[in-house]
């Protein structure tokens, strides 16, 4: 027997969950709506936890929405309570505090959980993950009397953590398993430039290594004193940040009828294999427009777009998720990079165009297949990369003007007139005077 019942129940209070709640309210202002999250804070900008750790941002300015958001939109916020079991037959969710909540439409926006490798000594005090505000709060307390940090993982989260720790004046060592940092987002050339930039800030970058053991301190075995790399090298440190990546947080649907691949599989309506149950964001395996198939693409903008489509459909307003693909903007120590799609094609089926300058910090690259853009990488001057990304997402045939994509002055003005007018919402084929 459910103690509470909602027309719409959303599990997860971040990008996807909030976008879905807003989308539901665009269509249905009256249907009861609740958001459950094990995080205690009202929705906050997750990417800002590094600025928070750096001491550059207050908790208040991390809020994703104004304080009255939940009340004003008629959303029951059940925060700081974990959803621990879903009964898909009864259409109810059991919370960690014993409450049972019924639903008619359910959205799984549970996000990802940090991947923690098996390391001897990994349980010692001073080993952190870095995906939630609570992680950042714990780390912020720990950095006060720490001098050296090891960050395991040279990806997006690892570099964000490293940047914040440098601001906190810690000596930071990044340990990356692959031969280059940011290997899933950048090509080797861009990665080397980032590496150079962060080394200049005093960060030590060790690639091709992993951490096999976390050492204790001579005076206190239970607290982190260093790490041992796979080649046997010891690196002394006061804390360790594990930032290898995140995996879809699918434990709530384990053993359930909800179909799971790498993430929870959804169709273009963001509906799972179980009627009335939807998923979005980092937990979902949703349509990727570039690859033409379902993929896990755990980036914030995709979570919002997927969440909006899910919310509309939950409220019976048919909407189709346009699809997302891997697309990121990086800004470490002032080095601006945008990258999307396939930036480093492995096979010869792609045409790669690139240009450099001015200066060695500027670099542009567009990857084409059959006249269509499948990847882009802009470094330094990134302003017009959005136009290229837009053409990629439209699947536009750019063969007629592909060379201009790399010119510094590239922009909407460089597009053929008809395409340009179409994009600007101007009448196409209008008679010239």
């Amino acid at each position: 027997m459910s103690s509470q019942h909602f027309r719409y129940l959303i599990i997860g209070n971040s990008a996807g969950g909030i976008a879905a709640a807003e989308a539901i309210r665009e269509v249905d202002q009256n249907g009861s709506l609740a958001i459950v999250s094990d995080e205690i804070h009202p929705a906050y900008s997750r990417p800002l936890i590094s600025e928070y750790l750096a001491g550059q941002r207050s908790l208040r300015s991390m809020a994703l929405r104004p304080p009255a958001f939940y009340k004003r939109n008629g959303i029951e916020a059940i925060l700081g309570v974990r959803a621990q079991r879903i009964d898909f037959g009864e259409k109810s969710v059991e919370l960690a505090d014993g409450r049972v909540i019924g639903w008619e439409k359910l959205l799984l926006a549970t996000g990802g959980s940090p991947i923690v490798p098996v390391m001897a000594g990994g349980e010692k005090e001073g080993v952190f993950t870095f995906t939630t505000l609570q992680d950042a709060q714990r780390l912020r307390r720990a950095v006060a009397d720490a001098r050296r940090a090891v960050v395991i993982g040279g990806g997006f989260i690892g570099l964000s953590a490293a940047q914040a720790l440098v601001h906190r004046r810690l000596a930071v060592t990044i340990v990356e398993l692959k031969e280059t940092i940011l290997s899933t987002m950048l090509d080797a050339r861009a990665a080397r430039l980032v590496e150079k930039t962060i080394r200049r800030q005093g960060v030590t970058v060790i690639t091709g290594q992993s951490v096999r053991e976390v050492l204790g301190r001579p005076e206190d075995e239970g607290r982190v004193g260093g790490v041992v790399l796979s080649n046997g090298t010891q690196v002394l440190c006061d804390l360790v940040v594990v930032a290898i990546g995140v995996a879809p947080r699918t434990e709530l649907v384990a053993g359930s009828p909800v179909k799971v691949g790498r993430g929870i599989v959804v169709d273009r309506r963001m509906a799972t294999s179980v009627p009335g149950v939807y998923a979005c964001g980092d937990v979902a395996e949703a349509y990727d427009f570039l690859h033409g198939e379902n993929r896990v693409t755990p980036i914030w903008p995709n979570a919002v777009l997927g969440g909006r489509a899910a919310g509309h459909n939950m409220a019976d307003w048919p909407d189709t998720y346009a699809g997302g693909t891997a697309a990121n903007s990086l800004n470490y120590f002032g080095l601006a990079i945008t990258a999307a799609g396939v930036v480093d094609p492995a096979d010869g089926s792609c045409e790669v165009l690139s240009a450099s300058g001015p200066g060695d910090g500027c670099y542009r690259k567009v990857v084409l297949r059959d006249g269509r853009i499948v990847g882009l990488l802009f470094m330094g001057e990134i302003e017009r990369s959005g136009v290229v990304y837009g053409l990629m997402r439209d699947g536009a045939d750019v063969s007629a003007f592909k060379e201009s994509l790399l010119s510094r002055g590239f922009g909407l003005a460089s597009l053929p007139e008809e395409l340009r007018r179409q994009k600007l919402g101007l009448p196409v084929g209008a008679r010239r005077e």
Partner: protein
């Protein structure tokens, strides 16, 4: 009725976003003088004075409109204030938002973190980086004016402020 609820204000979805006024450029007429950039910069400066804005204010304000050239053809472009704005969806911090009543897209500079994600997601390339301040700069349609500064100061009426009916 179907309506939008944002910040407590309801906007019927039936209200056509295309009904809002936007700035359109007539490419046939634009001579590429870039006075729109100059006046946009001044309008968004602290002093709103041409000489002070350029000579004294540091960091200097940024123009939100940019004149692009393709050979001898010019296009003055700023934020299109999209009805379903990709930049707002992409914003990592909640700094970008679409005004529930007017439909214009604004940035709350206090919340902007300068991550430039919106720059990648804007299909018009209409968002600039204000690197000195660590935030983005984009067209706000000059909220203190009836007609945006770029339009008001275009010497040959190449810029038009219209809801699209005159196009």
């Amino acid at each position: 009725m179907v309506s939008l609820v944002v910040g407590g204000n309801r906007l019927p979805l039936t209200t056509k976003a295309s009904a809002m006024n936007r700035v359109y450029a007539n490419e046939e007429v634009c001579v590429g003088c870039r006075l729109c950039e100059v006046h946009c910069l001044v309008e968004h400066s602290a002093s709103r004075d041409l000489i002070k804005a350029f000579k004294r204010e540091r960091p200097r304000a940024l123009a939100r409109i940019r004149v692009q050239a393709d050979g001898d053809r010019f296009l003055a472009l700023q934020c299109r204030h999209c009805p379903d704005p990709p930049c707002v969806r992409a914003c990592l911090t909640g700094a970008l938002y679409r005004h529930p009543v007017t439909g214009a897209v604004y940035v709350d500079a206090d919340k902007c973190s300068g991550c430039w994600t919106c720059v990648l997601f804007c299909p018009f390339g209409a968002i600039s980086r204000d690197v000195a301040r660590g935030v983005i700069a984009k067209c706000d349609l000059c909220p203190d004016r009836l007609v945006p500064a770029c339009v008001a100061n275009c010497p040959n009426e190449a810029l038009i402020f219209t809801n699209g009916e005159e196009l």
